[in-house]
Subunit: 492 residues, 2 copies
C-alpha cells in the first residue's frame, strides 16, 4: 500500500533518501548538488526557524541582511578563512548573457561583460560582515553588536546528500562583536547552549556539547564549539557550531574600537550557525522503516483526522464532528489537518501520514460516533487506542507532550548506549566496525596522531566534551600520555 521504503537494514543510505523524497521533504533539482525544499519540508524548517529566531531575540540578538556576494579581495583578507573555503566557491565572473550568434535561440556568456573583480557567492559571511562592521564600530559604546542573518550560502561540495550536504543550503549565521575576549567567549558558549536547548527540547535530538580539536576548527576561528548528535547507523552528525574568532577578523579588516580609557584595540568576534542540515539529523534520529517520525513541537501537522465512512450520509455526520474536533484542537494551539479527500481510501491515508511522520492520527468512523469515541494512533510507538470524544483535546494535548518526551528518551537511550569507553587500539578499531557510536578514548593531543587515526579508521575527533573531568591515561594509538578523553566517531 502506497510508497515503498527501503529498510534501514537493507540500505541505510537509500532508506534516508527514500524518506526525504517520499515523505515530501525535498526533491533533487536540475542544479548539481542543489535541492528543492518542498512545502512539507519547508513547513518543518519554518517551525524550526521560528523557534530559533525567538531564542536569538530572547538573548538580545537582532536580524540583518548582508550581500550574497563577496568581492574576491575581501574574501581573501582573512587568510585561513579564505584558504578553508577557496576550494568550494561558486564564482561570478560575468554580469550579462547575450544571444549566441552561432546558436539561434540560445544564450552565451557575454565576454564583454567580464567583472573587473570576481565575486564569490558567500560560503559564510564573516568577510563581508566584518568589512561592514568596520564602519559601524568606533567606540566601546557601539559594542556589543549582536546580529544574526537568515540566508542561503553556497559551498561547492563534491559529494552531496539531501539536507546533509548540499551545494546551496539555508542557514542562520550569527556574527557578534565585543569589547573583550571574555565577553565574546561567553557569547560563544551562550549560543552553544541555545543550540543544545533547541536540539534537545524541540527536535528531541540529544546532543553532546564540546569543543573541536584544532584540526576540526572552523577556518579562521580560535576555538570552535559544537553540538554532536548520533544517528541510528552509529555515525555522528555535527549539528551546530559556535566559534570564538578572537581578533582574527578584526585584524584582517582593521576593525578597532576605543575603550573607556580611550585606548584603541581590535574588536573580539564570534560567529555561530545551524542550517537545514538539522533536518537531515532530525530524520535520522527518529524515523523508522515506515517513514518519518517528527517530534510534535516542530511537526508541520501535529494531528491528522481521517474519516472512515460509507456513503454521503455517514460522511456528513462525520464531517460535522471532525470539523468541530478540528476547531477545538486548533483552539488548544494544535496544528491539525482534516483529510476528507474522497479520492483516497483510509488505508492509503494511514500509510501516507505514517510516511510523513505526523505524530497523532485520529480515525473517525460512523460506529465510533455512535459510541462517542474515536481511534487515536501515535506515530512513534504505533499504539492505537479508542478514546472518548469528550475531553479529547486535553487528552491529545497531553499525548503530544508524551510523544515529544518519549522520542527524546528513546533517542537518548540509544545515544547513551553508544558512548563506549575504549582503552586499546584493537578494541577501538573493532568497536568502530561492530558497534559504531562515540568512542571515548585518550588521545595524545597531536594533529599527527589525529590524522593517522582518521586515515586508518575514518573516525574523527567529534569533540572534547565540555565539563568532562580530567583523567590520566595513554593515547590509544601512540601510547603517549593524555589527560583527557575525547569522543571519536565516524561522521556525516
Amino acid at each position: 500500500m502506497g510508497k515503498e521504503i527501503t529498510t534501514r537494514e537493507k540500505d541505510y543510505s537509500q532508506w534516508y533518501n527514500d524518506l526525504i523524497l517520499k515523505g515530501g521533504l525535498a526533491d533533487y533539482s536540475a542544479v548539481r548538488g542543489c535541492m528543492v525544499i518542498k512545502p512539507y519540508g519547508y513547513g518543518l524548517w519554518e517551525n524550526m526557524r521560528d523557534v530559533l529566531d525567538r531564542m536569538f531575540k530572547d538573548t538580545g540578538h537582532v536580524n540583518a541582511y548582508f550581500p550574497l556576494f563577496v568581492p574576491k579581495s575581501l574574501f581573501e583578507a582573512e587568510e585561513k578563512n579564505a584558504e578553508g573555503f577557496a576550494k568550494e566557491c561558486a564564482v561570478v565572473t560575468h554580469y550579462r548573457l547575450k544571444t549566441d550568434p552561432n546558436n539561434p535561440g540560445k544564450l552565451m556568456v557575454d565576454p564583454d561583460a567580464k567583472l573587473e573583480e570576481e565575486l564569490v557567492v558567500r560560503p559564510t559571511s564573516e568577510a563581508i560582515i566584518w568589512n561592514t562592521y568596520k564602519t559601524w564600530i568606533q567606540s566601546y559604546r557601539d559594542l556589543p553588536i549582536l546580529v544574526n542573518q537568515w540566508a542561503n550560502v553556497v559551498r561547492w561540495e563534491m559529494r552531496t546528500r539531501l539536507f546533509l550536504r548540499t551545494a546551496e543550503f539555508l542557514w542562520q549565521e550569527g556574527h557578534t562583536a565585543h569589547a573583550s575576549a571574555e565577553e565574546a567567549v561567553e557569547e560563544t558558549r551562550r549560543m552553544l547552549d541555545v543550540y543544545a536547548d533547541f536540539a534537545e527540547n524541540w527536535m528531541a535530538m540529544p546532543v553532546i556539547k564540546g569543543v573541536k580539536s584544532p584540526a576540526e576548527r572552523f577556518a579562521g576561528a580560535v576555538d570552535t564549539y559544537c553540538i554532536e548528535a548520533l544517528m541510528q547507523d552509529g555515525k555522528a552528525l555535527q549539528a551546530g557550531t559556535s566559534h570564538f574568532l578572537g581578533q582574527n577578523f578584526a585584524k584582517a579588516f582593521d576593525v578597532k574600537f576605543s575603550d573607556k580609557e580611550n585606548k584603541l584595540d581590535y574588536v573580539w568576534a564570534t560567529s555561530w550557525g545551524v542550517s537545514t542540515r538539522l533536518i537531515g539529523g532530525l530524520v535520522m534520529t527518529h524515523s523508522d522503516d515506515d517513514g518519518l517520525i517528527l517530534p510534535p513541537k516542530i511537526a508541520p501537522v501535529q494531528v491528522v483526522i481521517v474519516p472512515i465512512y460509507k456513503g454521503p450520509e455517514q460522511k456528513a455526520l462525520i464531517d460535522e464532528h471532525a470539523l468541530q474536533l478540528k476547531k477545538t484542537l486548533q483552539s488548544f494551539g494544535i496544528r491539525v489537518k482534516y483529510d476528507d479527500n474522497d479520492q483516497m481510501r483510509p488505508g492509503w491515508k494511514f500509510a501516507e501520514y505514517e510516511m510523513k511522520g505526523v505524530p497523532v492520527r485520529i480515525a473517525i468512523g460512523a460506529r465510533d460516533l455512535e459510541n462517542k469515541v474515536v481511534e487515536v494512533a501515535r506515530r512513534d510507538t504505533k499504539e492505537k487506542q479508542s478514546l472518548p470524544l469528550e475531553g479529547l483535546a486535553e487528552t491529545i494535548q497531553q499525548l503530544l507532550v508524551d510523544i515529544q518526551q518519549a522520542m527524546f528518551d528513546k533517542a537518548k537511550a540509544y545515544r547513551d548506549s553508544h558512548i563506549t569507553q575504549v582503552d586499546t587500539w584493537d578494541e577501538f578499531v573493532r568497536l568502530l566496525d561492530e558497534k559504531g557510536g562515540f568512542l571515548s578514548a585518550h588521545w595524545d593531543g597531536t594533529e599527527e596522531t589525529e590524522a593517522k587515526i582518521k586515515e586508518i579508521t575514518k573516525a574523527t575527533i567529534r569533540c572534547i566534551p565540555l565539563n568532562q573531568p580530567d583523567e590520566q591515561g595513554v593515547c590509544i594509538l601512540s601510547g603517549k600520555p593524555s589527560s583527557k578523553r575525547v569522543l571519536f566517531a565516524r561522521a556525516y
Copy 2:
C-alpha cells in the same frame, strides 16, 4: 542637534538617501549595487514579511524553496523571459579559487574549475520552478499548486538606488499552476488584491490597481497586473506585480496534465511578487524633512518612552513608572522601547526617534509624575499633548489606530489631487513638468505611440486602471481614436 537631513526641496534624491542611511534602514556595501539591510530596516521588513506571509497562507498558499542557480539551458527555455533578463544576469562560471602563484596570499579563479554549463544567479525563478513542476504535475488531481518562495534574487542593474533598485534584493515570488485559464486569471487578480490590501491597510500607501500595457509586461507573461503608488515628488512607483503567464512556461518546460476526461493539456500559470523595494515606497510616501514616518502597523518600534530627569533619585522614580507603562503597553500588543541610555540627552533622543519615524513618543519627567501625566507626541503631525497616566495604554492604542488612518488619508489626498485628466499634448507635457503625478489620458493603443511618448517625455504608461469605464476620446499624441484612458507618469 543630531544628524542633518537634506530637505526635499533642496535635493529630493539626497533627502531619500539621507533618510535610509541616517534612519538606520540600510547601508551601502562593498559590492557594487548591493546594500546591507541594517537591523532597523530588517525589523521593518520582518513585520511586512510576516503580514504578507499570513495573507498568502490565508489564501491557501504554502512556502517552498528552490535553488539559487538556474542552469543556462533552463534559463533560456522560455525565450521571452530569457531575453528580458539576459542583459542583467550574474553568471557563475567557476566553482573554485586557488592560490595565485604570482601573488602570495592572494587567490585567483582556478581555470581548471570551469563549469561545463554556466549557472545564472536567479533574477526570477519561473524557469527553475517550472522545470520542477514538470515532475510534480501529471493529473488535474495535482492541481492547483499554490507555492510561494521568500528569497534573494539578483538583477545586474546599471543604476542602483537603496531599496528601489539594487543588484540583489529580497522578495517573495508566488508561482502557481492551474487546470484552467479562468482559474489562473482569478489567482492573478486575487493576489493583486492581496497586494493592494497590504499596501493600503498596512503600509498606509494608496495604490491604483491596473494592468500593464504590452510593452511594460513581465517578460514571458500574457498579462501583467500591478499596483502603482505615487511618491511625494510626483513620480510613480510600481509596488507589486501579478502575472498571468498563460501556458508559456508550461510549453517551454513541457508541463502537461490529464484532465478529468483524460485529455492532455498544458498547465496554466501565474507568478506574483513584491520586494524590499516596498520599503523605498514606504519611505517616499510618508516621510518629511525631519526623518522617516513609519505607519504604526508595521513600525519596528511603535512607541518609545524617554525619561527626563536630573539625578539618580528622579531616574529611579521615572524608571519605576516607565517600566510599568512599558509592561502595560506590551500587554496591549504594542511594540515599545524604553530608552534610558544615560549617555544621550533627551533632545538628542527626540531627534533620533523622529529620524527613525517611531509613531509615538512618550516623555516622562519628574514634574509630570507629580501631576500623574506624561507628554505624548505623535510623529506624523508632531502634535504634543499632556495625557493622564491613568488609562494611557488604551489612549495610545487608539492613537496608533488614528495615526495609521491619518497617514493613509494624507497620502491618499495627495495622490488623488495628483491624478489629472489631460486631453491635449501641450497640457500633458506641461503638467508632467509642473505638477507631476498621474496623468489620465487617451492613448491609441500602439506600442509605437507609447514609445514615442516615453522618448519625448520620459513618462510611461503606468497602468490601464481596472474597473474604469470606457470613454471615447483621441490619443493625446497621435490623435487617433481611443476607447479608454490610461495612467501616464514618470516613474522610479
